[in-house]
Amino acid sequence: MISTGLKESWVKSKFCRDDRTVCHTWLIFLQGVYVTGSFIKSSRSYDDYMNAIEVSHLSKRFGALTALDDISFSVSKGETFGFLGPNGAGKTTTIRILTGISAPSGGTAAIFGNDIIRNPILSRTQMGIVHETSNIYDDLTAWQNLMFTAELYTIGKHQREKQGMELLERFGLQERRYDKVRGFSKGMKRRLTLAMGLVNNPRLLFLDEPTSGLDVQSNLIIRDVIRDLAAQGVTVFLTTHNIEEANLTCDRVAIINRGHIAAIDSPERLKKTIQSAQSVEVAFDSAVPRRMEDLKRIPAVSEVRKEGDKFRLFTEDPSSVIPAVMEYAKANNLRVLSMTTAGPSLEDVFIKLTGLEIRARGVSTVD
């Protein structure tokens, strides 16, 4: 008997009295109705529970070079997902496969349940793509660029013109719409690229380094748009060299290194994995560099770094470091101007997981 929650006694009381045959027939019929109903219900809700991106054992080889080695992850609908990794880690290769530009050497990738290899057109219909470089046509105007992209998505004339005007206004480009893009600043080109990525109202937006090297105004506009899209339920897949941006924007991040996924989790959970990167930041009235050697001698301090007019002392136990710093200040007749404690940053997690000594080389970001 199929377990449906239907009780034989209830069926007997409602549909039959003592006739066992009639009773069984009713029971089988009602169970059939129940199972069919459950199936229809689960079919209807399939889309609601489906992932926006589902990557399974994906690999990509270029001759002897393995760019992606058996990576698997999923991105839920409406999630803002960050993809971080150093140069050559496999970020762009992943995006090229997920957008159907390149084919994988192995594994599968699906966009809203559609296999990107077997059903690329349906998959791409639902996505918008903002490539790493502002790949727009310099010899066309902003308006022509937008209309051309809309035509590739077969958006009707009236709809694409309406959509085009709204997007140009949203990105502060309406006054320059009939100017050739050749004369645009880098920020304006980036904003136009993003507008072109949104022209088809995508359910999933791929953003490859969206704010790299931009002016403050463009940066703010683009970050606002990403937040708005997330609020509207659009899934965002973001690769960025700016780790703080991922920290502020993403629900979850994946850290990829040499074709392997090193970690996937929310920024806060990832930070918790490396408590040794907690720190005490202190500013004295005199910040001569030789103090670094003195501060290093404080017990429980693993590393000292000079950051502008401040010193950052890395420790697993900030509560024991704070009185020691105060004692040091008193002994050396120094006035403590400020002292704060800080947890590990996403950048610390990134450095630990990718094994990069970026800070030591004075670099604070990665591509």
Binding site: T125, Q144, T154
Partner: protein
């Protein structure tokens, strides 16, 4: 929506996208200096080099001029535009759009085709107005121009599949094919006068059939049957389209 309806919908989408790609190319590339030189001026100087000083009247040379103009102009857009678009990464925009490679290849070919039709009008009008060249049959002329233009536009798209960001690389390869075609296709040397070793090659040149159709319009007779010319040009178009699709797919992987 039924399966048939979906299929028609997709065909409409693909054609729409192909037209959009062609319109984009027209707006960007038609007036680029290197396209004007290789597509319009090069065939003119080529023609003058062979025609000037020859006993034949200019009017007799008009069909040949139309044929080589189409050869060079139709195959000159994509070998320039596609490498530039690869360099600017705008080609990725086409590859990631919700259309098949067929639509991309068709759209790119369409822009070369339309450019070539426009350029071919120059010798055609010059023949008509300046030299008073009589046209005996308009149908082979129209078919000859349209099919030859589309055939060589597709050939240009096929060569442009080679994954380089430099138009010069593709132009060099293309000229290795285009220049010999002129000599084995009856443009300057009548097919009957081609040495026996070259007679076999004649059949492998699409320009042979295009030139034969265009000549028919001015002479009233063809070397092959007009139907054979049309059929051969259609076969070449099909082969170039299929090969271009395969190559773009292979090189993108």
């Amino acid at each position: 929506m039924t399966e048939t309806g979906r299929r028609y919908g997709q065909i409409y989408t693909e054609l729409n996208a192909a037209v959009a790609i062609a319109k984009k190319d027209i707006a960007i590339y038609y007036l680029k200096p290197n396209i004007i030189v290789s597509g319009a001026l090069f065939p003119l100087f080529m023609f003058l080099a062979f025609a000037v000083g020859k006993p034949a009247a200019p009017a007799v040379m008009i069909p040949g001029l139309i044929a080589i103009t189409i050869l060079f102009s139709a195959s000159s857009i994509e070998p320039v535009s596609i490498p530039i678009e690869r360099r600017m990464k705008t080609f990725d925009r086409l590859l990631s759009a919700p259309i098949s490679l067929h639509a991309v290849v068709l759209g790119e070919s369409l822009s070369g085709f339309l450019y070539s039709i426009g350029i071919a009008f120059v010798p055609f009008i010059a023949g008509l107005l300046i030299f008073g060249t009589p046209i005996l049959d308009i149908l082979p002329l129209v078919l000859g121009i349209l099919l030859t233009a589309f055939c060589f536009a597709t050939m240009g798209t096929l060569f442009a599949a080679y994954p380089t960001e430099s138009p010069g690389d593709i132009m060099s390869m293309l000229n290795l094919v285009r220049l010999p075609l002129i000599f084995i296709s009856g443009v300057f040397i009548p097919l009957e006068s081609i040495p026996s070793a070259g007679q076999v090659l004649v059949y492998f040149s699409p320009l042979t059939y295009g030139n034969d159709l265009i000549q028919a319009a001015y002479r009233g007779s063809t070397h092959f049957s007009p139907l054979a010319d049309v059929a051969m040009l259609c076969i070449f178009i099909l082969l170039f389209q299929i090969a271009a699709n395969r190559l773009y797919k292979k090189f993108n992987e």
